[in-house]
């Protein structure tokens, strides 16, 4: 009897660990080990399966002195800031519009705006390459019709227009995605707060500022942080749109730089160093964002 009880106690104690064991094993094998390994090889020069050479901090030193890397970082930050600056307000605006009960065909519009997100970056890049083509592209044709003369804007080959072209495609792709999150958040805001605000004589703007915005703040924070992380990891869109680094390397992002290091140069050690630096950058920016959000909440 006593033996049976201790066996039961052992099982009860071990059961939670056994339940999490598959996840832990998979996590260790496919997440933790590769992470640790990539940190180790970031201190090596690698070429092929057996050719490795310890170089210490040399990969990081070269990386911080490479103008292509700084260009890639500048492009990525430009994209990330411009992307969020338009995506967040546009998504919120659209969500407010589509949350209105007066609007007919709401379901259709919600699906239509969200559907762009279903097609993926590669498809959108191919689509925008055609839309922005110099002579027969609908965008230039539309501009020609508006201006009354034929315009031939080289969207994809003019350095200063490279990132705006990527941004156009990215906004088209993700404004509907943000809208869905905001819609869900808006519907969760307690309606009685609006009624109370109305009783207090609050106008539209005051209701938005003092009821809506605090109500959707967690979603807003989430979208900004996730959007920023996604933007810092940008790769497929410019890679397919330009078929490479783009004019004057203006389409190179940090992840594309990492790809070039790993798969064009075949130096996984250097690519790992880029990856770890990107990790530090993303971590730093995310912590900063969350802290700023927390500070505004406390205010």
């Amino acid at each position: 009897m006593k033996r049976q009880r201790s066996w039961w106690q052992l099982q009860a104690r071990a059961a939670p660990y056994l339940f999490v064991l598959p996840f832990v094993l998979l996590f260790c094998a496919f997440q933790l080990y590769p992470l640790g390994r990539s940190l180790v090889i970031s201190f090596y020069d690698t070429a092929g399966p057996r050719a490795t050479r310890f170089v210490g901090l040399e990969n990081y030193r070269y990386l911080l002195g490479d103008k292509l890397f700084w260009g890639a970082l500048a492009n990525t930050l430009y994209y990330a800031i411009a992307f969020l600056a338009v995506q967040i307000p546009a998504s919120l605006g659209l969500a407010l519009l589509l949350n209105s009960r007066k609007l007919k065909w709401r379901g259709f519009f919600r699906f239509a705006f969200f559907s762009t997100h279903l097609v993926g970056h590669v498809f959108v890049a191919v689509l925008f390459a055609a839309l922005l083509s110099p002579r027969q592209g609908p965008v230039n044709e539309l501009l020609s019709a508006i201006l009354g003369r034929q315009v031939e804007i080289m969207w994809l080959t003019t350095p200063s227009l490279a990132m705006p072209a990527v941004l156009l495609a990215a906004w088209w792709l993700s404004i509907g995605y943000g809208m869905i999150y905001f819609l869900a958040a808006l519907q969760a805001v307690d309606q009685s707060l609006y009624e109370a605000a109305e009783v207090d004589g609050a106008g539209r703007w005051a209701k938005f500022r003092h009821v809506t915005l605090p109500g959707i703040k967690p979603v807003l924070t989430f979208l900004i942080v996730v959007g920023m992380i996604g933007a810092l990891q940008l790769f497929e869109l410019p890679y397919v749109l330009f078929g490479g680094p783009g004019p004057n390397s203006r389409g190179v992002t940090v992840v594309m730089y990492l790809y070039l290091a790993g798969f064009e140069l075949g130096n996984l050690g250097y690519a790992s160093a880029v990856g770890w630096l990107l990790f530090v950058i993303i971590m730093g920016i995310s912590i900063m964002q969350v802290r700023m959000m927390r500070m505004t909440r406390e205010d």
């Binding site: 070429a47 002579r135 490479g244 004057n248 064009e264 996984l268």
Partner: protein, 459 residues
């Protein structure tokens, strides 16, 4: 009917069950004795499509003769590169590794960074010499597929380059473009062409297709002048004064008041339609591009002609080379002798070359085959001109092209300087351009040398 977890979950479970059953019922892909990975549709067709005369495909014929089955997989270029690199980096052995793989010239550099004994492809020098094949191939064409004197691939092609132009539209403008022997003359004629059509109400009819911001066509012009941005030892020639001269000239073709060229419509092979519409009236064409014109722009038949490249200096070649493919044996292939046997059949046998001719008309790098009457016919697409004969004339003058892991960065540097040059012309005109281009090239060359010094693997 109701399901207690709700309809969406029921649909998801149903889909999972159906796809699971389908996956289980799908018969496993038949294993072949030899596997080939290729990226080019036309090459795959030449391997797989039956010969109309016999009804047997090239790989079918090989199986009949040797008893060894062959599977040819077509993969997108990038997918093929990444998969192969991953296999090589992991030193994979076994069924995952293809026996033979075709690699595009723009991709091959990335395979050559490891020391020679660790490159994922099998060295072929001994095999080529043993079977007396080394001298059958135009020697210059081994250059891109060679590292430190070790040949890793057999070239599929030569890809000599000429210019295909809309003779009908140039004739209307009263211009005989083929008479241009130098690039300066060519530019003048193109200017006259653009002026003529502008007066006729065609402000966006350009004489030539040239990208305004990519370094690829510049690379081609530099090769014509015998300049590789990086040679096979990774020496950098970006700051050669002739590079500055070429960029300054090129920039004036695509920007400023003397502009004569326009960018092609991006995506797929839409450039062929630019030629059909007469938006772009001449295009630099290697033999493989002619194939696209024939297939995708039949409306051009009889309206176009082919001419050699004009030169910068008399010592330049009247041609260059653009694109290229090699076939290589994976070092970790299960049976490298069998793979070599298949390689010879696909690339050197009469049957292989005939199948290639049937699908692509791409000129092979084996001189002996150039006498084939098929390459000496009047070509109705070119208004009766013997276009392939011109390619053969140019083929022997193709300059060697080297590809290293850093070539992609060299081309990028060219593009950077070109972009700065076009911006300069648009703002200030062409005065002082070449000197300024030289300064930019010096900076870029310095960066490139640093990248090479850092990136070269020293054991």
């Amino acid at each position: 009917m109701s399901f207690h977890l709700g309809k969406p979950i029921a649909v998801m479970i149903l889909l999972a069950v159906v796809s699971g059953v389908l996956a289980l019922r799908t018969p496993p892909v038949e294993r072949a004795d030899l596997r080939v990975w290729a990226f080019a549709g036309s090459h795959v067709r030449s391997f797989r499509n039956p010969d109309p005369a016999t009804g047997v495909s090239l790989i079918g014929l090989y199986q009949q003769r040797t008893g060894r089955s062959v599977r040819v997989d077509q993969l997108a270029t990038r997918a093929l590169d990444i998969r192969l690199i991953s296999l090589f980096m992991n030193d994979t052995i076994g069924d995952d590794v293809p026996d033979l793989a075709e690699i595009e010239i723009g991709s091959v550099g990335k395979f050559f960074r490891p020391p020679v004994d660790q490159v994922g492809f099998l060295p072929l020098n001994d095999l080529l010499e043993r079977d007396g094949l080394l001298d059958q191939v135009v020697r210059a064409r081994f250059a891109p597929w060679t590292k430190d004197g070790v040949i890793f691939g057999v070239p599929h092609d030569l890809h000599p380059v000429g210019i295909t132009y809309r003779k009908d539209l140039f004739d209307q403008a009263g211009i005989d473009l083929a008479a241009a022997k130098t690039w300066a003359e060519f530019h003048e004629m193109c200017l006259a062409f653009v002026r003529y059509w502008r007066e006729q109400g065609y402000p966006h009819r350009w004489a030539l297709e040239l990208p305004s911001s990519s370094g690829d066509y510049l690379t081609l012009m530099l090769l014509q002048r015998g300049i590789n941005i990086l040679d096979d030892r990774n020496n950098v020639y970006l700051d050669d004064p002739r590079v500055a001269e070429t960029i300054a000239f090129y920039a004036q073709l695509v920007a400023g008041p003397k502009r004569v060229a326009g960018d092609a419509t991006p995506g797929g092979h839409l450039w062929t339609q630019d030629i059909v519409r007469g938006d772009l009236c001449a295009t630099i064409t290697p033999d493989w591009r002619v194939g696209y014109l024939r297939t995708l722009a039949p409306a051009l038949s009889g309206k176009v002609r082919l001419m050699p490249l004009p030169r910068f200096e008399p010592t330049d070649a009247p041609t260059s080379t653009w694109g290229g493919t090699m076939i290589a044996i994976a070092r970790r292939a299960a049976d490298t002798e069998a793979a070599w046997d298949l390689l010879k059949f696909l690339y050197f046998s009469n049957e292989g070359l005939r199948a290639r001719q049937r699908e692509t008309m791409i000129l092979p790098p084996m001189r002996a085959h150039w006498a084939d009457p098929a390459y000496h016919q009047d070509d109705p697409f070119f208004g009766g001109q013997k276009a392939n004969e011109l390619f053969i004339e140019l083929a022997d003058q193709i300059p060697p092209r080297y590809v290293t892991p850093f070539s992609v960065f060299g081309t990028q540097s060219l593009a950077t300087v070109l972009n700065r040059a076009t911006a300069y012309i648009n703002e200030r005109g062409a005065d002082g351009l070449q000197e300024q281009v030289q300064r930019w090239l010096n900076e870029e060359a310095e960066h490139l040398r640093r990248r090479v010094a850092f990136g070269e693997f020293d054991e």
